[in-house]
């Protein structure tokens, strides 16, 4: 059954590594839904969070193929309960002065933050789980969305409470 899976990959922080990972997906016909990458606390490592849409068999191959790359240090897959995930979105919305108050209220309820405001538009920053961002977009649609940009999902394992 096709479904989204989150894979976290720790790789050598070297040039060309992103191309190796991306190339692996494209050459074998796997779909990347989102990919986010940056250096870790150890500057020799980068960490990628990749969201893939795949069935179990393909997922297994993806993990094996990622592991096979020389520059891959660790591959983790997050199952439903064991992780925390977040995504950051910046969203720029039209502002009609008459509806501004409505908009402010919605942003507040959604835990968003206004990071820029002009006479014509406001830009909101919001960090949440990805499905909540989908909802934010729906809520703000009536105001007229000018543009959005999202980081893609990042995830980290959740430790059990002591």
């Amino acid at each position: 059954m096709l479904q989204d899976h989150i894979i976290s990959v720790t790789v050598e922080n070297k040039f060309g590594v992103l191309a190796r990972i991306a190339g692996l997906f494209s050459s074998r016909g796997y779909n990347i839904k989102s990919l986010s990458v940056a250096e870790t606390e150890d500057p020799t490592c980068s960490r990628m969070t990749i969201v893939v849409n795949a069935d179990e068999k393909i997922l297994e191959q993806i993990k094996k193929q990622l592991n096979k790359l020389i520059d891959t240090i660790k591959v983790q897959e997050f199952t439903n309960t064991s992780y925390l995930d977040r995504e950051l979105m910046l969203i720029k919305v039209n502002t009609d002065p008459k509806k501004r108050t409505d908009l402010f209220q919605i942003v507040e309820v959604l835990n968003g933050k206004i990071i820029n405001m002009t006479r014509k538009s406001i830009t909101i920053e919001i960090t949440a789980a990805s499905d909540i961002l989908e909802n934010v977009i729906k809520m703000l649609q009536p105001f007229g969305i000018i543009e959005t940009v999202r980081t893609g999902k990042i995830a980290i394992s959740r430790d059990a409470v002591d």
Binding site: G23, I70, I73
Partner: protein, 585 residues
Amino acid sequence: MKNKMSGAKILIDALVNEKAEYIFGYIGGQVIPIFDELFGRKDITMIVPRHEQGAAHAADGYARVTGRPGVCLATSGPGATNLVTGIANAYMDSIPMIAITGQVPTTLIGNDAFQEADITGITRPITKHNYLVKNIDDLADIVKEAFYIAASGRPGPVLIDLPSDISKGEAYFNYKDSINLRGYKPNYTGNPRQIKNAAAMIKQAKKPVIFSGGGILHSNASEELLKFVEKTGIPITTSLMGMGSIPSIHPLFLGMPGMHGTYYANMAITHCDLLVAIGVRFDDRVTGKIKEFAPHAQIIHIDIDPTSVSKNIEVTLPIVGDAKNILGQLVSLCEKSDCSIWLDEIDKWKKSHKLTYHETDHVIKPQFVIESIDKITGGEAIIATEVGQHQMWTAQFFKFKYPRQFITSGGLGTMGFGLPAAIGAQIAAPDKIVFDIAGDGSIQMNSQELATCVNYNIPVKIAILNNNYLGMVRQWQELFYSSRYSGTCLRICSHEKYHDKCNKACESDNKEKQKYTPDFVKLADAYGALGIRITEKKDVEGAIKKALAYQGPVVMDFHTDQQENVMPMVPAGAPINQMLITGIA
């Protein structure tokens, strides 16, 4: 205090430290510093082919015979891209290879400089790993890593792209004794519990078959494989890449399975209750229709590459590790299997569908030439092939005796592989007789390497099974495309009217009228090799003997039956028990 050395010298010293004896290299602008360093060096021998593709295949052939990485070298841009087919070929067959390419100076990279190509980008999907050297201080470590990666685990090609300012630059040479790559730790041992489980499954099986491949050769496990076969008494089939890992005449050997496999190997796989797969990757040419491959069998899959396991075929019991290790353990855990009824069943298939061909005196059958080479060399020659019908006939009719004897392009199916690979093989095994069994199509893809043979007196014996066609595709066209021989006829046709509908009508014309182009005897002569043309069956053996008596390279141009097909044949996508046995579908 040690003195600084040039990057070129660091490179070559590192190669020598890694026990590279030969470097198959073609010069060009960005590698002049490297060739300058090679000039006059006694500790490594440079072999100059006539095309960079020849360099890559020669390094590949050398690696297949020795088991050690072959080294090839080319300049930037077109030199590097000419290596690409050879690198892809080595990658598909898991051959250890170090490909070194010159690159424009680091200051010019990305500027679309003269003869610049992003070769690390181009070869990323066809190398096990690759490097662009940006800092001369990394060079020695990179060479060390490259050899380690190429030869360990599942072997493969590694490319090092070396900008010319790095090879001209200077640094201290410090060569490490060992390396540690945190992202690369091949698992050699195999899980002991899984191995025990495998032994139990083998014990219970009533109809077991072993299916082994190139992995046996890579891990030098032929001895363990033979012990395993003989101790358990289980029949064995090997993939094209595994030919030679067990003697072809062994009573338990069933030949090759798959598209052009034997009837009995395919039937054994289809009816077995246990398939012990070792060092194979279940290529589609072996499995045919996946859903009907070994439908009654539990499958044990032993392989060093986890990605090969359950990629094409669902496996009952995977064991990731080195074939030699695991077979060694299985030999001590396993006992003689009681499968006499099963062996009788297989024996009936063997008797009812012998691997054979229709012998005649009127025309030279290509299979007869292969059998004659086998007979006259006592089955001892190293056999390289090109790709096509002649390759399948060689796999079917040559009786291989020892591992690393059969040098053939399996995964990529690279026409033009055979001659340069035979050159590499002959250099690796100077005391052996080395044949390149070729087709008239394939040999023309790298025939320029005849010059290399003559130049270095590399006495490769080339046997062209000349049917004036790209025979394998012609066979498909005959069977599946109503004999419309589009693009497969290689003759110079004197009949204008046939040009757009080349078919059997042309065959019926007097054979004398057919023009064979090129004249391979003249071609051999032009290069300074010996050329022999053979058009009669009675002259076949004499020609082979003459070729063997001759001290240098020989081209034998056998004019063979033009319509002969490779049989049995499983049509692409069909289950492997549905074979065409003879002639026309």
